[in-house]
């Protein structure tokens, strides 16, 4: 039986990640095509220099036509104006600006650059309210993407 498209594509992505992952990115756990855990290291010279984070990717059968569910997990959630303390990430390419040409690696790069361009480690202003009310899947959140500068 033919492997479905998402599995085939993820196979290629996994191979690519294993061979030449973007700087600071490593595979922690990728045993199936449903959930992957990746390590993300704060880039040198940034506010997150030396910090290690964990990202969780959840893929649906419509990947890559539909975006994966991506969030920070583990003990260390980056303190960042666009990252909520429950790990949810306010980044348009993960939601309404997703495009099927994006990959796990390209998402990691977007997140790296989001972290690297941060100028002050602060949680989002509405963190407390959001974390209390948000559903587990960040894709269910109605995101408003206010600024691209941080």
């Amino acid at each position: 039986m033919a492997k479905p498209m998402f599995a085939r594509r993820l196979s290629k992505e996994l191979k690519d990640l294993a061979m030449n992952a973007p700087a600071g990115v490593n595979i922690i756990d990728a045993n199936d095509f449903k959930v992957w855990k990746l390590g993300l290291a704060g880039a040198p010279g940034t506010l997150y220099d030396g910090e290690k984070f964990q990202l969780e990717f959840n893929f649906g059968p419509n990947y890559p036509l539909e975006s994966p569910q991506v969030l920070f997990v583990g003990d260390n959630i980056p303190v960042h104006p666009h990252i909520y303390s429950n790990g949810h990430i306010c980044l348009d390419v993960l939601y309404n600006h997703w495009s099927p040409v994006q990959t796990v690696a390209s998402i990691c790069l977007s997140l790296q650059s989001m972290l690297s361009s941060c100028t002050s480690k602060e949680p989002p202003p509405d963190n407390a309210t959001y974390v209390k009310t948000a559903r587990a899947n960040p894709k269910h959140t109605a995101w408003a993407f206010h600024d691209d500068t941080v």
Partner: protein, 606 residues
Amino acid sequence: MSEGITDPSDWPIEFKSLREIDSHLRCPICKELLRAAVVLQCSHNFCSECIRRHLDKESSCPACRVATSTSQMRRNVALDEIANNFGDCRSLLLNTLMEAVQPKPVVRPVPPPQFVKEESMDIDYDSPQQKRRRTSTRITNRNVSSSQDHTDIAMGQVTLDDDKDDDFVLNHRDSSPLRHKGKNVHRSTGPVLRSRGGRAEQTLSQSSQSSQADERHEPTNLTKQEPSLPTASDHFHNSAPAPAEVQASLNSSTNITSSTITTSVASIASSPVIGPNLVACPICDKGIPEPYTNTHLDKFCLAGRTDPDYTVPYSLISKQPASVIALYTKQGTSTRDVVPDTNSSLTKPGTPGRSVGSNSSTPNSPARQSTMQWQPQMSSNGTAPRQPMFTPKPAAPEPKRIPKLTYSLLNDKQLRKKLQELGLQTNGDKTLMAKRHAEFATIFNANCDSTRPKPLSELMKAMQVWERAYEKDLEVRETQRRILDQQQQAQRQIHAAKEAKRQAKEDAAAAAAREAAMDSPGATPPSSQSSNGRSTFVPNQANSNAVNVAIASASAFAHAAKYADEYAELIAEVRNRLQADKEKALANTTTTITAEPAPPRSAPSQ
């Protein structure tokens, strides 16, 4: 590269350009080599199917986000051909390069010609149907195209018969011509390649190739010619391989020195069904081959069973537009004829509702080739073709695409009719019917964009798979919904239980306080507060008796009665606590006692 998972990094780093070529021939969505390449106005290329699925969701290019739509995309025929042919020769080229990059001093003996089972030439993800199809592709095409891919073999020995059916003649060494009937082909060995110095030898048997094969194009070139797929499943259904086996050796004068192809050909002469016309079954009205009528009637219709091999009503086949009929019959006799008359060329369908008639080749009307593909190859080795080098032929009419429907504007009946016209299932609610129509339109239209279109039967089979997946998905969703419902219900129950518990405590406390107040009229009114399921009361002088305890517990019970047994325990505890308090109070009447009713407990988890 297991399971045909290939990517540009497969190429040795020394051949960076090949990596580039490989990556540029890939669809940015699925990352496979382009299938039915189409180009958008922004010049970005995708598989037709991939971009169609994307454009169903969003009207912009996935790569650059420029607004676009399916009506603005165009076939990129040249790119599609390049991608297809690159896929055809990819694993061979890769092997050869690898060999060249890491020369091994060991000279491996050339293994004797071996028979490679057909199955081993295909790879797992191929359905049996595809296997049959592919392995039954015409020999001439396979031999020549694979040799060409592999070794740039001289084509001089493959010449076109000059009859107008574009039949082929393969010349043996002994010059005895072999006329190919486009039927069951057994390839015994792959070509043997020798590098110039004979140092690194590589036997590229079909099986070794397929082990590294790209999923779409291996084993080599079985689907090479455009766009004729001789859907010869009929042959496989009807006949055991015929005895006539011919070994054809092609001696080549190539860049690489030599190449040997040993081929055995099974003639279809013994095939019992030769170009039968489809007729309508008098009972079930399905289109069936005439010679098969009695068997069909006896085994199925008269026995009250459904013939799994013939599921498409005859009336439906005959009413298809010419483009669809062409798919039912023989894929792309592109240079010439889309046969509008269903009766003339339909043969026995290989499988249910799939290849309703497929290969029109018979001994008398041999499989047709696209001459356009062959002639340049012939010219390349200097052999004078027996036909003009290039015969311009009218382009095949573009197959009609299935138009998009606005499903909200159709009622069930209209939608059902649309599905019926396409030969699709009509069961299910409107959502399912709309999704089914959309899915078929996507794969059908994408197939129209391909330079190697699949027969309609393949698409029908894909729809079967889709139906099963849809059903499974529905089941999963239903299960998830049920679980969610149950969770919510459980949460509501827990909430109600907590509420009841709190109420019971408050009531009990109030009763006890009332009682305490009654016992000591001069006392200040009891303060009774409740917070988070804990209530505290402070009788300033507790002096109670059994009656009061009874009142208190009765009150608590009365309130909690509707929550029934699960709270009995709680109530009992409250009562016991009250009892204990009172006993203490009796023992020490002057002391203020702070009594705490039942400590918070987790709600019953029922």
